[in-house]
């Protein structure tokens, strides 16, 4: 189980996180909410091994996870397929899916030869997700990936993400500022504040319903209400 065990960390001597314990349930989507600057990105970077804890340890992360950033983070000079193949090419470990299957899964099979500049913002984000699919890992970290997209696109990509996560049994840690996105995607949601992570809330949506019905469900709205109260309570 990916977890932070008594992790402390700060930039330039300013402590941001101290003695933090968090577990991320395998096969679940764990969503982190929290005010800007509270350390959400930092937590993901610690999980990914991009930052090293000052004390404590990151456990249960054996291979480099996939990381989906807010901008799609594609090499502009490389084709879509080369971008998707990058992690396995760099690490030398074959990905969970082949490049072709990964592109197929995000609906971009016909775009393999294009350059990122020839895609729309939403398509670039799909490529970034395909790259995660083609990475040799089961743990996928998302850092506000859809924040810059319009709402319809965001819904589409949320649906896609949910599908892929269920199909491939990903363990997902998802950072967002949107309460609705959190409530829709999250199996469990926590609010981060001042370097601490709250208890988890479980919206318990009925996943057998279709996506729109889930979005309209009372469970989702209850969850948003709870989260909103928590966010405000904590932020004051």
């Amino acid at each position: 189980m990916p977890s932070l065990d008594a992790v402390s960390f700060g930039y330039d001597g300013r402590m941001l996180i101290s003695d933090l314990h968090v577990d991320f349930t395998p096969g679940n989507i764990s969503v982190l909410l929290g005010p800007s600057g509270c350390g959400k990105s930092t937590l993901l970077r610690l999980l990914a091994g991009l930052e090293t804890p000052n004390s404590g340890a990151v456990k249960g992360v054996d291979t480099a996870p996939a990381f989906v950033f807010q901008d799609a983070a594609l090499l502009p000079w490389a084709s879509v397929e080369d971008n998707v193949a990058l992690p396995s090419r760099l690490s030398g470990e074959a990905g969970a899916l082949s490049t072709r299957d990964a592109l197929q899964a995000v609906g971009l099979a016909d775009y393999a030869k294009r350059k990122p500049a020839q895609l729309s913002g939403g398509q670039r984000m799909r490529v970034s997700i395909a790259r995660a699919l083609a990475t040799h890992t089961n743990l996928v970290l998302f850092d506000e990936p859809f924040a810059a997209l319009d709402e319809i696109l965001r819904f589409q990509l949320n649906d896609l993400l949910l599908d892929l996560q269920q199909h491939y049994g990903w363990t997902v840690v998802f950072v967002t500022h949107s309460l609705y996105e959190a409530a829709f995607l999250g199996d469990r949601i926590a609010v981060m504040h001042n370097g601490t992570v709250s208890d988890w809330t479980e919206p318990g949506l009925d996943r057998s319903l279709d996506a729109d019905a889930q979005r309209a469900s009372a469970a989702l709205h209850d969850c948003v209400k709870t989260l909103s109260a928590r966010m405000r309570g904590r932020a004051e």
Binding site: P65, F69, D71, L75, P76, W77, P116, T135
Partner: protein, 256 residues
């Protein structure tokens, strides 16, 4: 209105005014020749100018080639070894800030006595190579930090990181540098020819100098026109090259 129309119109008007003024005020030919006289000189000496222009162009392009080569090699060396960078960069700056005209005679003495061409190339290279060096060094620092994270995440080797990330990120900057340097290489070549004087040099600058000595002012003007035309053509060729390559790479051009 087409973008080229205003400058062409203005240019045409200026030439007309110039022509008319020369006739109206009866200005002597050795002070300011009329455009028609310049055109005449251009036509009469066209064969001569062609040979001379090609000679200057040759020096310019060879020097530019060496500038690119040395710029790339030096930048690679700098980025591989901090020590080298710290040791060599000040020297590069000294070379840059020292006026090329003042160094040219020395180089001609050292190298030019037996091989004028080599001396010309060295001088033009000195004029051209610095923008390529600085542009490339800037370019190597313009790597998207998120992409750096991505490469770190998957344990990319130093080598992979350089060739697959840092170097391609710097290419637009290299191309922008080459565009600037093409003009500087031409200036360097001309300066070198001027300083070399008649010592076996056969380029355009020398033709202009020679015409000046004989007070053939229309011919001087004609030579000048060819020089500016060469500069403009070089600039536009390398701008076009930059656009095409940057487009093909799928990256945004360098902001310099």
């Amino acid at each position: 209105m087409k973008a080229w129309l205003p400058p062409v119109l203005l240019f045409g008007c200026l030439i007309l005014v110039w022509e008319v003024s020369v006739w109206a005020f009866d200005i002597p030919k050795f002070l300011l020749p009329a455009p028609t006289a310049v055109a005449g000189a251009l036509w009469e000496n066209s064969a001569d100018f062609l040979v001379a222009g090609l000679a200057t162009l040759r020096i310019t392009l060879i020097a530019l080639g060496f500038a690119v080569l040395s710029g790339v090699v030096l930048t690679l060396a700098f980025s591989l070894s901090r020590f080298l960078g710290q040791a060599l960069y000040p020297i590069a700056i000294v070379l840059q800030v020292t006026p090329i005209v003042s160094v040219a005679p020395l180089i001609l003495i050292w190298v030019g006595i037996d091989h004028v061409d080599r001396a010309l190339v060295i001088i033009a290279w000195l004029a051209a190579f610095f923008p390529i060096l600085t542009n490339l060094m800037t370019g190597l620092r313009q790597v998207d930090p998120t992409l750096v994270d991505l490469f770190r995440l998957y344990k990319a080797s130093r080598w992979q990181r350089f060739w697959m990330l840092t170097w391609p990120s710097a290419i637009p900057y290299l191309l922008a540098g080459v565009k600037i340097s093409s003009g500087l290489a031409l200036i360097g070549a001309v300066v070198a020819e001027f300083v070399a004087g008649s010592g076996g040099s056969t380029g355009l600058a020398w033709r202009i100098l020679e015409a000046g000595n004989r007070l053939q002012v229309p011919k001087m003007f004609a030579g000048l026109i060819i020089l500016s035309a060469m500069g403009v053509v070089l600039f536009y060729c390398f701008s076009a090259l930059e656009r095409v390559l940057v487009g093909r790479l799928g990256v945004r051009g360098a902001v310099t």
